[in-house]
Each structure stands twice: as structure tokens, then as C-alpha cells.
């Protein structure tokens, strides 16, 4: 049901952007397809985990036949392995989603880059102003010091 709703919403979105450029519609379709595939994988893995766990719990009844107990033990091991495998598959899916977030989050990346650019520009302006102020202060200090020095009675002969 969730997938259907999403498909409907995506379809509505596609129809809305159908008048846009071709690549945009194709990208949207590809994204929708990928979303479906990911959801399918999640559903499969979760179902596998739940089913296997249910079977393990169901096998908890003690059987009279020792042969059946051995069979059940082997089945339990098999289902436990399948559960772990499904969990690992989910983790890989999460990794893929993280990678997708890293490489597809253009909006946030661009915003951050622009923010950093603005910060660095401000920093550069601030540094330039600081340098200019330092230059002005140095110039004023030099002028003052020269006036004091050359007004004094004693002047040192520079080493030539």
C-alpha cells in the first residue's frame, strides 16, 4: 500500500513535470524505479527475518522422534543463518543509502558550499581590511616615530 501511494505520488509528480526537460523526467523515473527496488529489497529482507524467526519459534515444540529433533536442529541453524544474512543485506542497503545521500545531496552540499564561500569571502575582506588598517597604523606610527626621531638631538649613523 505504501509503495502504491508512493507510486501514485511519483506519478503525479511526473505528470506535473512532464512538461519539463527530458532528462528531468528520465531522472525522476529512474529515481522512482530505484526507490521501488530499494523498498522491495527492504521488504524481502525484513520478511526473511520475520519468517525465519517465526519458524525457529515454531520448532520449539519438543518432538517425540529423535530423528525429527535432529532435522529440526539442522533447520534451526539454517534459518538462523538466513536471518543473519538478511540482516547483513539490510546493513548493506543502509550503506548504499548513505552513499546515495553523500553523492546526491546536492541541495545541501551547494548550500553549504555557498555558505562557506560567503564565510571565506567575509574572512578575506576582514583580513584585507585588517591588513589595510595595519598598514595605515604602521604608516602613521612610522611617521610619528620619524618625527620624534629626527626631532631628537641625537641621531644614530646607520651602518653603510
Amino acid at each position: 500500500m505504501m509503495m502504491k501511494n508512493k507510486a501514485g505520488g511519483a506519478g503525479g509528480g511526473m505528470s506535473g513535470s512532464g512538461e519539463g526537460a527530458g532528462p528531468t523526467a528520465a531522472a525522476a523515473a529512474a529515481a522512482l524505479q530505484k526507490q521501488k527496488a530499494l523498498l522491495q529489497r527492504v521488504e524481502t529482507d525484513i520478511t526473511s527475518v520475520v519468517d525465519n524467526f517465526t519458524q525457529i519459534v515454531n520448532v520449539a515444540r519438543v518432538s517425540d522422534l529423535p530423528v525429527k529433533n535432529s532435522q529440526e536442529a539442522y533447520m534451526m541453524e539454517m534459518r538462523a543463518s538466513k536471518m543473519v544474512q538478511a540482516a547483513d543485506s539490510i546493513l548493506k542497503l543502509v550503506s548504499e543509502l548513505k552513499q546515495t545521500a553523500i553523492f546526491s545531496g546536492f541541495a545541501s552540499l551547494n548550500d553549504h558550499v555557498e555558505q562557506r564561500i560567503a564565510e571565506f569571502d567575509q574572512e578575506a575582506d576582514k583580513t584585507n581590511r585588517l591588513l589595510a588598517r595595519i598598514g595605515d597604523d604602521a604608516s602613521a606610527s612610522l611617521k610619528e616615530l620619524e618625527a620624534h626621531y629626527y626631532s631628537s638631538a641625537q641621531r644614530l649613523t646607520p651602518d653603510v
Binding site: M76, A80, R116, P158
Partner: protein, 645 residues
């Protein structure tokens, strides 16, 4: 055999019908052979009496034991008896089975499992339950191990991707689709190249360090492994003053190599510190790429014509050039990895400058500017050249120093840089000359004018004269509003552009000024050039000329006939007799550089031939004393005229 004898009668040896089945079939017993008959006869004998006697014997033996043993044996006696009975029955069954196998008198018609006892059922159930419980415990252990492993994997990934996301905010991360799964390489790379710089027209080529692979360390954290000495730093210095090879660890050696001594350190670092270290390492590599680009550009410009430099030596990652003014500089790329200091120990016998006072003293003494400041300047102008095209830098007062780029001067960056450096050295020498003159003449002041131009320097030699004591009167220098113009300061401006000295001042001691010795032209500004060797003399002559002009103006103010001839001021006492105040300049004079002479001249008439002249040295006079001397001379002129009248 106390019991009664029993007699049993056998049946007649005739075949008797044993059974009739439903379908009417008759069953007769099978024929018994002699052995079977004998066995059956033996079995018909009752041996119970023998067993009873045996039991009595056993009971008698047991009565001889102590009371405790009897009580203890009594506790297990039942089980023992049961076991014995079971053993006997098993023996009978085994005999029966053996007999059946031997195909003797008994045949097995069918076997049925005996109905299990409740305790047997419970024991079987207990065994099954225990087995199943063991299986579940084993399963539980397996799940715990798997959960632990998955949790570790989650934590590792969280650390890795968290660090990657944080670094992605400052660096460009690319992903490569790798076919083979590699635990140490997820296929991520850091791209440190700048597309705006790599323009085929500009000639820049991407550095080998532009792409850096992202790997995992032993703790699962993001790591960057770079070979030692793989990145460089730019080194600039003066030949003979700065070491060519820099064994200093001035650059931070922050790297995440996989050396064993670093692994334990990295494990103890927190994620933040690890990310910070990686960021610093990437920054070092970024700076290295910048240094390589800069050196590459310098190399290319070195082979183009330039007026400011000439290449005197070149090899891999090293370039040496002469820039004039007796200076040679070098630009090199040196590895700045951790082992750089170890590798460069071979050249440790070279002069090492680690910002010592002695090195700075030598640099300052020779007039060479600070190595570090010009290293920064070189990087700055390259940065503006390479990256300034793509960015619109706001024009501000603070950018005045950066506005002097090579493009403004129609020269290459290297040329501009070398000319700037040469100018700095030359201007330092000019300053030394000016200071040597100004410090010896008390009434001169030197004022520096920062131009914020890397190839232009400017100073002013200021002389303040004493105020005039002559009251306001009719004078050519009167202003329209009636107030007398007082000239109290004389300025001599010295401007150095590259290695060209130009002087701009009033009252220049030139021939043109002599011919037109009016007040307005007397103080006209003139501009001329000179070289460094003549600068002290020129300045002193200019100052002396300004003093003479000032005295001349003062003398004319009171109506005295006065004239000026280069550095002499002549006053006419009476006709034919003149008194002159002559200035003499000597830059080597430690007492004052400008000394004055009083020269008396008797006029040359047609009757008298020859000019008699007497001179008297007045020494180094201050301006107040000079003014007083002038007033005295003016009074002398006035009294002499009156006497004639």
C-alpha cells in the same frame, strides 16, 4: 525331593487339528523331531524347588552382614533384584532368539514393542527437551556473535561515513564503481584538482596528487595513505644567505600513514581528531599541489624573455636566477613528508637558516628583504593570477598591494616578482643613503611615504626654516589678501621606481633657475633623475640650494640687492664690493655635511685688474644662525650704503 510325584500324560501321537481358519483351511501342528521332543520334555520339569533352595542360601549369607550394610543394601536391593530379573529375562530372550535363528522349535510369529512406561516416556521427553534446549542455546550464542559482528560493522560504517560526510563539506569526494569488493577501498576518492586552473591555454597540468584514495584503517575509520615525501613545499631564498635544502620541520607533518608506530596512535585518537588530522593532511596536499603549479609556472616563464632576471641554474625542482643588484635567488620544491628531514640530512652541512637573528642581521645588512615575506608575496601574486580570473575580487583600499600584478605592468609574473625584489633591495640602499645624509644634518627630516606598490618607493626630505622676523611690507611675495606668504618648509621628494631614482623639489640648483631668478620661478618645482652614487651629493646640493633661495627671499624682502649663484648668496655692500655666503656640501663630513663660507669680494673695475677675495669658513651653521648671519650681512649692506650716501 520331598514333594509328591506328578504324572503327566502325553497326547497320543496322532495328528490333531490345531486350528481352522475362517476360509476353512486346517492347520496341523508341525512334526516334532527327537531333539525337540527331548527339549520339551526337559522343560516340563519344574525346577522351581532348586531356585528356592538357592534363594534360601543367598538369604542366609546376607543375614550375616551388619545392620548398616543391611539398611544400605536394603535401599538398593530392589533395584538389584530388578536388574537381576531383567538380566535373566534378557538371557532367556537371547536364547530364544538364538534358537529362532538356528531354526529350532520356536518361530517368531510377530514382534510388538512393549508399551512404554510413563517414566520411560518422560525420560525420552526430557532427553528431547534437553537436546532442543541445547540447540536453542547454541543458536542463541550464534545470534549473539552475529549481533556483535553486525554492531561492530554498523559502528565502523557510522564512523567512516560520518567522517566522510564531514570531510565532504570541505573537499570534493568522488566515487568510483569498483567491480571487485575490497575491504580497504570503498571506491571513494578526494579530488583536489581545480578545474578553473587546469586550462589547456594556461598550460597547467593536473598534479599526481590531485586524486587521493580513501581507505580504512584497522579501526575502520577513514584513512588516507600517502607515500612519504610525496608532497612538496615551495622554498624561496637568496643564494648564499638561505639554505637551499630545508631540514626544518616547519611544516606540520600530519599524515595518516600505515606505519606501525602510527596505528596505535590513531586508535587512541577520537573521531574528531582523526577527521581533523585527515583534513590537515588534505590541506597539506592541497598546498603541495599549489606549490607544484607555482613552480611549473615559474619554469615556463623562465624560458621567456624577461628584463628582471636571468637564469643561472636549473635542475629538477630547483631554479636559480640573477635579479641584479648583486643578488641571486632560488626557488625550489622540496619534499615535506615525515622523512624529509632524514633524507635531507646529507646536505646539513649547508648554511641553515631557521629564522635566527644572525641570518636576519646578515640579510638586513645587505639590504635583502625578508625571505618569508617575499615567499608569501610570490604565492599571493600567483594565486591572483591563477584564481583571480574566475573570481571577481572587490576593489577596495585593502587590495592596493594586490593591484600591482604583472598584467598591469605588461610583464610576466616571474619578471614582475624579480623586479619587485630588485626594487626592494635597491630602495633599501637608497634609504640607507638618505638616512646617512639626514642623520648628519640636524635641520633635515626624512619622511617615508608608503606607496603600497611593490616597485615604487617614496621619501621626502623635509627642511623647516625659522620664521621670518621681517614684518609685513611691500614685497613681491605678498598675497592678494595682504598677508605675506611665509615659506617655512622645503621638501625634496625622492621617488624610486624599480631602480630609477627621481628627485622632485623646488629651488633646484640649475642653470635655468639662475637666469630667471624671480620669486615665483625661484620656488618652482623641478624634477630630475640621478643614480645611487650621486644621491647624497644631489640631496645635499638641493638642500643647500633651498637654504640659499630662502635666504635670498628674505634678503629681497627687505630690499637688499641680492643674487644667487648655484649655492652662493651674494649681497652687494657698496658698488664693487660684494659679500657672499657660499655653501659647501660634503657627504663624507660627519659633522654636518653642509658647511658655509663667507667670501668677501672687491669688485673688478676697469681701472683695477684682478679680484681680491677673502674667505672665511663659518662651519656647520644651523638655520637660525644662518638667518642671523644674513641679517647681519643685510645690516652691513645697509650701513655701507648709508655711509656712501
Amino acid at each position: 525331593m520331598d514333594s509328591d510325584m506328578e504324572i503327566s500324560l502325553d497326547r497320543l501321537p496322532i495328528k490333531r487339528l490345531e486350528s481352522i481358519e475362517e476360509n476353512g483351511a486346517e492347520r496341523f501342528p508341525s512334526d516334532v523331531n527327537y531333539d525337540d521332543k527331548r527339549v520339551s520334555l526337559i522343560r516340563r520339569i519344574d525346577f522351581a524347588w532348586a531356585l528356592e533352595e538357592e534363594d534360601d542360601l543367598n538369604s542366609k549369607k546376607k543375614k550375616k552382614k551388619t545392620s548398616k550394610e543391611i539398611s544400605e543394601q536394603w535401599q538398593w536391593k530392589g533395584m538389584v533384584e530388578n536388574l537381576q530379573l531383567a538380566h535373566q529375562e534378557l538371557s532367556v530372550i537371547i536364547d530364544l532368539i538364538n534358537t529362532v535363528e538356528a531354526n529350532d522349535a520356536v518361530t517368531v510369529a510377530g514382534m510388538t514393542r512393549p508399551k512404554p512406561m510413563p517414566n520411560e516416556i518422560l525420560s525420552d521427553l526430557a532427553v528431547s527437551t534437553a537436546t532442543k534446549l541445547q540447540s536453542y542455546r547454541h543458536l542463541g550464542k550464534y545470534f549473539k556473535q552475529s549481533a556483535k559482528a553486525l554492531e561492530q560493522k554498523v559502528n565502523r560504517e557510522a564512523r567512516f561515513y560520518g567522517a566522510l560526510i564531514r570531510l565532504q563539506r570541505n573537499w570534493k569526494v568522488k566515487r568510483q564503481r569498483v567491480l571487485a569488493s575490497n575491504a580497504s577501498n570503498e571506491g571513494f576518492t578526494f579530488d583536489l584538482s581545480d578545474g578553473s586552473v587546469y586550462d589547456p591555454a594556461s598550460g597547467f597540468r593536473p598534479s599526481t596528487l590531485s586524486t587521493i584514495r580513501v581507505e580504512h584503517d584497522s579501526a575502520g575509520m577513514l584513512a588516507i595513505n600517502l607515500p612519504q615525501d610525496s608532497w612538496y613545499s615551495l622554498r624561496f631564498g637568496f643564494v648564499g644567505l638561505n639554505s637551499i635544502d630545508n631540514p626544518n620541520e616547519s611544516n606540520a607533518h600530519i599524515n595518516s600513514t600505515t606505519g606501525e608506530d602510527l596505528i596505535s596512535e590513531k586508535e587512541s585518537l577520537s573521531d574528531d581528531e582523526s577527521v581533523r588530522e585527515t583534513h590537515s593532511l588534505l590541506r597539506e596536499v592541497h598546498k603541495s599541489i599549489f606549490a607544484e603549479q607555482l613552480f611549473d609556472m615559474l619554469n615556463r616563464e623562465a624560458f621567456s624573455e624577461g628584463v628582471g632576471f636571468s637564469i643561472s641554474g636549473i635542475r629538477e625542482n630547483f631554479m636559480e636566477m640573477n635579479i641584479g643588484q648583486g643578488a641571486s635567488l632560488f626557488v625550489s620544491l622540496y619534499p615535506s613528508g615525515k622523512n624529509a628531514s632524514i633524507k635531507k640530512s646529507e646536505s646539513a652541512n649547508m648554511l641553515i637558516e631557521t629564522e635566527p637573528a644572525e641570518g636576519d642581521y646578515r640579510v638586513n645588512k645587505l639590504g635583502f628583504p625578508s625571505r618569508a615575506s617575499y615567499e608569501i608575496y610570490l604565492q599571493q601574486i600567483f594565486h591572483e593570477h591563477a584564481f583571480g580570473k574566475t573570481k571577481d575580487q572587490p576593489k577596495s583600499k585593502s587590495n592596493r598591494s594586490s593591484n600591482q600584478t604583472a598584467k598591469d605592468n605588461n610583464s610576466g609574473l616571474l619578471d614582475h616578482f624579480c623586479l619587485s625584489l630588485a626594487h626592494r633591495i635597491f630602495s633599501a640602499r637608497v634609504l640607507v643613503q638618505l638616512e646617512s645624509v639626514v642623520c648628519k644634518v640636524p635641520y633635515l627630516h626624512l619622511i617615508s611615504h608608503p606607496t603600497w606598490n611593490s616597485r615604487t618607493s617614496s621619501w621626502t626630505v623635509l627642511m623647516t626654516v625659522p620664521p621670518s622676523i621681517i614684518p609685513q611690507g611691500s614685497s613681491e611675495s605678498q598675497s592678494p589678501d595682504g598677508k605675506r606668504k611665509l615659506k617655512t618648509q622645503f621638501r625634496t621628494k625622492v621617488v624610486v621606481k624599480d631602480d630609477c631614482i627621481s628627485i622632485e623639489a623646488e629651488c633646484t640648483p640649475n642653470v635655468v633657475g639662475l637666469l630667471k631668478s624671480t620669486s615665483c620661478n625661484l620656488f618652482s618645482m623641478n624634477k630630475y633623475e640621478c643614480d645611487l652614487a650621486d644621491l647624497p651629493v644631489i640631496i645635499l646640493q638641493q638642500v643647500a640650494s633651498q637654504i640659499v633661495c630662502w635666504l635670498l627671499e628674505e634678503a629681497r624682502t627687505v630690499g637688499t640687492k641680492a643674487s644667487r649663484d648655484f649655492l652662493s648668496l651674494s649681497l652687494e655692500i657698496v658698488e664693487g664690493e660684494r659679500v657672499s655666503l657660499v655653501g659647501q656640501v660634503n657627504p663624507e663630513d660627519a659633522k654636518g655635511c653642509i658647511s658655509w663660507w663667507l667670501v668677501m669680494e672687491n669688485g673688478c673695475t676697469e681701472e683695477r685688474k684682478g679680484v681680491s677675495e677673502s674667505r672665511k669658513s663659518l662651519g656647520h651653521l644651523s638655520l637660525d644662525v644662518l638667518y642671523s648671519v644674513l641679517m647681519d650681512l643685510i645690516n652691513l649692506c645697509g650701513s655701507g650704503r648709508n655711509a656712501l650716501d
